[in-house]
Amino acid sequence: MFRRDFIRVMGTSAGAAILPSCSGRGTSPATGRVLVVAFDGMDPRVVQSLMDSGRLPNLERLRQRGSFRRLATTTPPQTPVAFSSIITGADPGLHQIFDFIHRDPRPTTEGLAIRPYLSTADGAEPETQWALSLGDWRMPLAGGQTLLLRQGTPFWEHLVQAGIDTDIYYVPANYPQSVPAGPGRFRSISGMGTPDLLGSYGEFTLFGPDVALRGKRVGGGRFVHLSMLGHHGRAELPGPHNILRDPDSAEPMNVTVNVVRDPENGVAKIDFSGNSVLLAEGEWSGWLPVTFQTGIPGAALLRIAQAPTALRGMVRIYLKSVHPKLVIYCSPINIDPLAPVNSISTPAGYSRQLARSHGRFHTLGIPEDTKALSHGALNEDEFLQQAETVTQERQLHFRSALQEFEQGCLFFYFGETDLVQHMFWRDRDPEHPGRDAAQGDQYAHVVDDIYGRMDQIVGESLDALEEQDTLIVLSDHGFTSFRRGFNLNSWLLDNGFLGLSNPSLQGRHEMFVNVDWSRARAYGLGMNGLYVNLRGREKHGTVDQGAMRGVLNEIRDKLLEVRDVDGRAVVSSIDLVADTYPGADPLVAPDMIVGYNDGYRASWDTVLGKMPRGILEDNLDRWSGTHLIEAAQVPGILFANRVIDVEEPSVLDIAPTILHVFGISPPVEMSGQALFS
């Protein structure tokens, strides 16, 4: 008999008195289970509109059963920031995540002024690299590791310590995972922030005969030459650097791809790494394992000694066209859940268990290949097919998790709403400058459709609920249009806060190359961050501590005055981090968070330090929706099957609420409050 059946059968005060001593798990009949479903970027205005037109019957059902509120998000309203607050119940002053991108202000590499890195994880080199060197071969005996940079205690640690079973699926800002200790059973799969096998956040490969021999690299992908001889093609799939070679001489480990096409039947046979797959034009393969061999002599003996001799990943292949041109898309090389090179689950074998039960699945933190769409490696329909595969995998895991969900807390994250809205917002915005006239309204329904898809998930959640269970449906932020990009660093340059070594080369370099740091008082990095070039903190700091506030005030006042050609304000709010988040680590946090007005965002160029001429530009990329603006303009959603007692709930309230439902007093470090009485 399952535990909740036992609870239902007992159902009396006598039973309730007996149960705690029987369970040892901390879930009482009065508490029930807690199910939290997160839909990244789900916007309350879109939800309300679709509920009004009857398109979201299950969210409407949930609203009638309990509550629907807007959910205040973090400043800035970015997923790693907001989810770090959801996880810890505290603001960035505690968890120290302020943007997607942070920087090391004093990198040791000579000539490098600042080094950007993903805010939630960074590599840590050991003080001593122990390795056995044999000629050009290098067997690492101890190496660096990746560290989770989110501070604070995740809510699940309190649950597990109290003996409450907890499952966490794909939650962002949790790679590498924080693993709790306690009597409660804990399982998790890492989400946003999980890299691919190359150590990047997603690099597709597109093979084609028209690509130059040397290939082409773009943000998030590569175009690789496919060498054709009649109907036979051959190319190299670029892999990770050889882990067993001296780093100074390391070359990528590639895998040879051989293709034979049948133009009459529109099919091609693709062979690589022991795989042989026959695809028709317009067909996707399943997950295909790929092994990158180091080539070290004596590999067989080394494998017996359990020394690494190869790296294993997996890819999906899509045959875009057969004839006249043979063009093949290859997904980013995901970590294989059956043989993960890095731990992506807790327990470590849980990813293998899931893959054995349900098949291989996307492990890349942001699995929807938006870069492939942005760079034309996939068209809109192909991208939506790829995204649908992600949804199907996640839905399978969700259903399986629900089936096993007997007690405790289940927190399941879906990212599709965010990525689909990023790519298809312009199709619902008639004023967007990047609209494709030829496409017209062809994709105007896509965003509504993904909301409807997620509504089905809510329906399954509702159907699985028992009376005493709690269901929370939330999003970390809302969404709006990204019409115009603001070149923050160009603006700083034009206003005397930055200087260039060679002004004639303005706009040609990224990462602040060509900056004359002796004339730099501030710079922008990341989506919303601005840093003072502070003496004693930055490698080439010029501003004294005593002058810092004056510089920030000057920048703030001027930024708030910036107007677009139509008179609209570009920036609607400014937060000085020392005031907003007094606990912020000054070595990590930006000094200012820029809250852009609706329609605006940091430009593509300014995010990593490029300074083109001009301050504002139309956003013509397919990535046309955003939430990286003033937080108050993009709240998220909050639904619950209970009455929410708080008038203006925020993402900080989720963790204390979960603890409260289980009868655990939220710790003092959680600044949020319980939503239910």
């Binding site: 690099e203 938006t370 990535w623 990286l628």
Partner: protein, 67 residues
């Protein structure tokens, strides 16, 4: 250099070699070889730095939020 270290020959045209000879003499290098080795080491170090930067940027660019 160690006895067993490998060395490689590079071919350059005479006009460039003559310029290098003059520059080596004026800059106080003991030989053209010494000048060339120094210049190449410096350029490769700069290139490696740029490649390291590019590698860090490329890793981040998979995030759709960045170009």
């Amino acid at each position: 250099m160690p006895f067993f270290a490998s060395q490689h020959k590079l071919k350059i045209d005479k006009a460039l070699y003559d310029r290098l000879s003059e520059a080596a003499a004026r800059a106080g290098y003991s030989s053209v070889d010494e000048l060339v080795q120094h210049v190449l080491e410096r350029e490769v170090a700069d290139l490696e730095e740029k490649l390291d930067q590019q590698q860090a940027e490329q890793q981040l660019r998979g995030l759709g939020y960045i170009e």
